[in-house]
């Protein structure tokens, strides 16, 4: 007997219990839509051979014979280059995507076979990252950044120009398979928005004319690298970078943007014991620059003390917080400082391997960074017996990401490095105890490593003297939005927001988003506050909004971002943010009532308290911060009705389909 199966696309509405296949009521037929012929007609039905024949052996046999030999050769080659190591899954699926334009269902089977894992594990990874897809994409993928700042700078006109020039909508591929256009969250170019990635090539300061030119050029030669006509400043013009990206360094401070001879910090460090290095970092009062501000020396000490056969140093270069781009500038201009900081950390904690997790959006910097690493190896600043120090062997590799904001969360970053979905991990154990592959691991931000290197070169006292009481040193701020001088500023901690805004040419700012969407939005009343860990903490993002911007619209944009970037692991973040968005959207559309404010507050607090990781815990901030600092913006849009009708119910919208189908207007919607 042939068995019929189905994958129902959606709920099937049973109209009657007995069916043509069997007139008597049968429990199984009730459960199994496939047994109802009308269900079979409307749903995609897969005819199945008997179960025994569909066993793994048989399907593997069929696979061997039917599958494209070329695909097999490509996948085998990629997997072999990655040592058939499933912890290198990110590299394997990235290379597959690059080589074949997608990681197809057949490719997943092959990768699983080559690496000794299960295909669903491969699918799990591929389906997680925005830069990977199971369906084919165009040879060139244009990813237009649709971040808030890009929208403020005219991104929508650019999007329209791309659509018109290509004759397709966002999310689609041209019929000839040449070009795909899609949106991407912040690609780290907010100071030169609107910007886009064309494969790995960055194009900035776009206009609708530029969009049309890009399309024309790609149609002509299909080569994204030829889109770069004018090179940016500094190392953006390096032969291995060749990007039109500008650094826009507006204020140089003594810590990050000062010259340093490669090896200076290492020489200082290697003259001391690892414990003394950690002591210096502690004395300097260095705290993590990614935003959370955990004391770096303490983190290194915990990691050093944790039992483990190996230890790892991970650099978080997954700069994804919208409005942040200072890591990009450091990676471009001071990679030696960064790698030296990582090496110092390796010495301090007793690690032999460092991994820099570089976000996919910065792939254009990878060849240059690889070259810097090679030069450091040649100078004995990396590799065995660094600077002649017997027993200190340390090297760094670059792990590319694939488009996931959550991977900037340290445990998610570790998951991704391990070749898994970028789900954060449960804590405890903390990475210092059990991190990468279960070994004690330090994860620090790019800027933190740069600070650490400078501390070892210049001394902890020099560093600790700068900044404010609880926040030693300087901070890099990435400024974008409504200001005259967007770019990167190195300022001492403790600067007031007002002074800083004056520096950036943003005197008429009405609202400032400090620390990106996960930070907080403050109004003029708070401009006297200071930028430091104990007051306005920030990982570096400062987005300025002028008086004409709608702060609730901004909050809605940020919620959309968090919904897109949530890993979906925990309930409050996965569901709660969708609910926040729905209600905020109703308020903006004029369908809000006063009780909605408390609804948003309580929902936001639940998300903040109950979420599992930093993304979830801060994802309600766009709403919570605007409720606190811009309450009048909500109050003026909600109105009490008093008639017991739910303002969120939109009868006109609810009957629109039926009006179109029947061709007659609603009698009720016209006179509510």
């Amino acid at each position: 007997m042939r068995r019929r199966g189905t994958i129902g696309r959606r709920f099937f509405v049973p109209t009657r219990i007995d069916d043509a296949a069997g007139s008597s009521y049968n429990r199984e037929s009730f459960h199994d839509p496939a047994r109802r012929p009308h269900a079979a007609a409307r749903e995609r039905v897969t005819e199945r051979v008997p179960r025994a024949a569909a066993s793994f052996a048989a399907s593997a046999y069929g696979m061997r014979h039917c599958m494209n030999k070329k695909l097999q050769a490509v996948i085998q080659g990629i997997c072999a280059r990655c040592g058939k190591d499933r912890t290198r899954m990110m590299d394997i699926v990235r290379e597959t995507q690059a080589a074949l334009g997608c990681v197809s269902s057949d490719a997943m089977d092959l990768i699983a076979r080559e690496t000794g894992t299960h295909r669903v594990e491969v699918e799990s990874v591929v389906s997680f990252y925005a830069f990977l897809s199971s369906a084919p994409k165009g040879k060139v993928v244009i990813r237009l950044c649709n971040d808030v700042v890009d929208k403020m700078q005219g991104m929508e006109r650019v999007a329209k120009a791309f659509e018109d020039a290509l004759g397709i909508a966002f999310g689609q591929t041209t019929p000839d398979g040449a070009i795909t256009i899609e949106y991407a969250p912040c690609i780290g170019m907010s100071d030169q928005a609107p910007a886009a990635l064309v494969n790995d090539v960055v194009v900035t300061s776009l206009s609708s004319d530029a969009a049309r030119e890009i399309v024309a050029a790609l149609k002509e030669h299909g080569d994204p690298s030829r889109l770069v006509r004018q090179l940016g400043d500094g190392n953006n013009g390096h032969p291995l970078v060749r990007a039109m990206v500008r650094n826009n360094i507006r204020a140089r401070g003594p810590v990050i943007f000062a010259d340093m001879e490669p090896g200076a910090a290492l020489k200082g460090a290697l003259a001391m014991t690892p414990q003394e290095v950690i002591r210096d970092v502690k004395t300097a009062r260095l705290r993590g620059r990614g935003g959370a501000g955990f004391p770096t020396g303490m983190k290194w000490e915990f990691t050093r003390q944790a039992p483990g056969a190996r230890r790892f140093v991970l650099c978080n270069a997954d700069e994804g917080e919208p409005g942040t781009f200072k890591d990009r500038v450091m990676l471009t201009e001071c990679p030696d400082l960064l790698f030296e900081g990582m090496t110092v950390a390796g010495y301090a904690i007793g690690a032999d391997t460092g991994i820099m997790y570089l976000r996919a959006e910065y792939a254009y910097l990878a060849p240059f960074l690889e070259d810097v690493l090679a030069q450091r190896r040649a100078k004995h600043l990396l590799g065995p017996a660094i600077l002649g120090k017997q027993g200190f062997n340390f090297d760094i590799r670059i792990q590319m990401g694939a488009g996931a904001y959550i991977c900037g969360e340290e445990t998610a970053l570790i998951s991704s490095c391990e070749g898994l979905r970028g789900d954060p991990k449960n804590r405890p154990p903390f990475p210092a105890q059990k991190g990468y592959l279960g070994f004690p691991t330090v994860v620090n931000n790019v800027e933190t490593f740069c600070c650490a290197a400078r501390i070892l070169a210049k001394g902890p006292g020099w560093f600790a003297e700068m900044g404010s009481k609880g926040s030693a040193g300087t901070k890099l701020l990435s400024v974008s939005g409504d200001c005259r001088s967007p770019g990167v500023y190195e300022v001492p901690f403790g600067v007031t927001l007002a002074d800083f805004l004056a520096m950036a040419g943003a005197e008429d700012a009405a609202a400032v988003q400090i620390g990106g969407p996960s930070g907080q939005m403050v109004g003029r009343n708070d401009f006297g506050r200071t930028i430091c860990y104990d007051d306005l903490a920030t990982g570096g993002s400062v987005i300025v909004f002028g008086p004409n911007r709608d702060v609730l619209g901004v909050a809605l944009e940020f919620l959309e971002f968090f919904i897109d970037e949530s890993c979906g692991y925990c309930t409050p973040c996965r569901v709660g943010n969708v609910l926040l968005r729905e209600r905020l959207h109703a308020i903006i559309a004029g369908r809000g009532e006063p009780a909605d404010l408390e609804y948003l507050q309580k929902l936001g607090e639940t998300i903040k308290t109950a979420s599992r990781c930093g993304l979830g815990q801060t994802s309600a901030n766009p709403v919570l911060a605007t409720l606190k600092n811009f309450r009048s913006e909500y109050e003026k849009r909600v109105k009490a009705r008093g008639d017991g009708l739910q303002p969120s119910f939109d009868l006109r919208a609810a009957v629109a389909d039926a009006e179109a189908i029947t061709g007659r207007p609603s009698v009720h919607a016209a006179n509510p």
């Binding site: 009308h38 009957v655 629109a656 389909d657 029947t662 609603s666 919607a669």
Partner: protein
């Protein structure tokens, strides 16, 4: 003093919840002593005759007529109670909520395996209320004060709730009376 009035209606429901109201058996005699019934299918009063203390809503809103009736109930009743799963979450009618309206109509009138419809017409008389794009729970259309889940809620649940409200006592149902099935 006049007895408080109770109104009931069945929107997108199956009248099962009304059956459950009747299932309070002989207690209905006691209920009649406590209240008068206004607009309700039980007594076939079609229009509100005055202000009511309690309105019992069975079913969600699947068409604009349901919306109008529900809003009328909100306007005439001090307390509205969603009775049963259809009023609370749409119930069985809401199984169509993941399918576009056009597909639902085509399946029901044209493509369904048991359909005999040689003229291939989908009824479209102006007397037929327009369907909504999906079935809405009652509290997504008007404010609802109390909810009695169940399919249907047991007669005891309805009795407990009504007597509590009429005597001004807080409505706290014992564990065994809160059921979604």
């Amino acid at each position: 003093m006049a007895k408080p009035k109770v109104a009931t209606t069945s929107l997108a429901g199956c009248f099962g919840c009304h059956m459950s109201i009747l299932d309070i058996d002989d207690r209905i005699l006691k209920l009649i002593e406590l209240v008068d019934f206004d607009k309700s299918p039980v007594n076939d009063i079609k229009k509100f005759t005055g202000r009511c203390l309690v309105g019992l809503i069975e079913g969600g809103c699947c068409n604009e007529e349901n919306v109008r009736v529900l809003q009328d109930f909100r306007a005439h009743c001090d307390i509205l109670i969603s009775v049963g799963d259809c009023a609370i979450m749409g119930g069985i009618p809401a199984m169509r909520n993941t399918i576009p309206l056009k597909e639902c109509l085509d399946e029901a009138y044209l493509n369904g395996p048991t359909v005999y419809n040689p003229t291939k017409t989908i009824p479209n008389d102006e007397e037929i209320p327009l369907l909504l794009n999906r079935v809405y729970p009652a509290h997504e259309v008007v404010t609802i004060d109390y909810f009695l889940p169940g399919c249907p809620p047991p007669a005891d649940t309805i009795w407990e709730a009504l007597t509590a409200l009429l005597s001004g006592k807080p409505l706290t149902l014992p564990y065994q009376l809160i059921k979604y099935d």
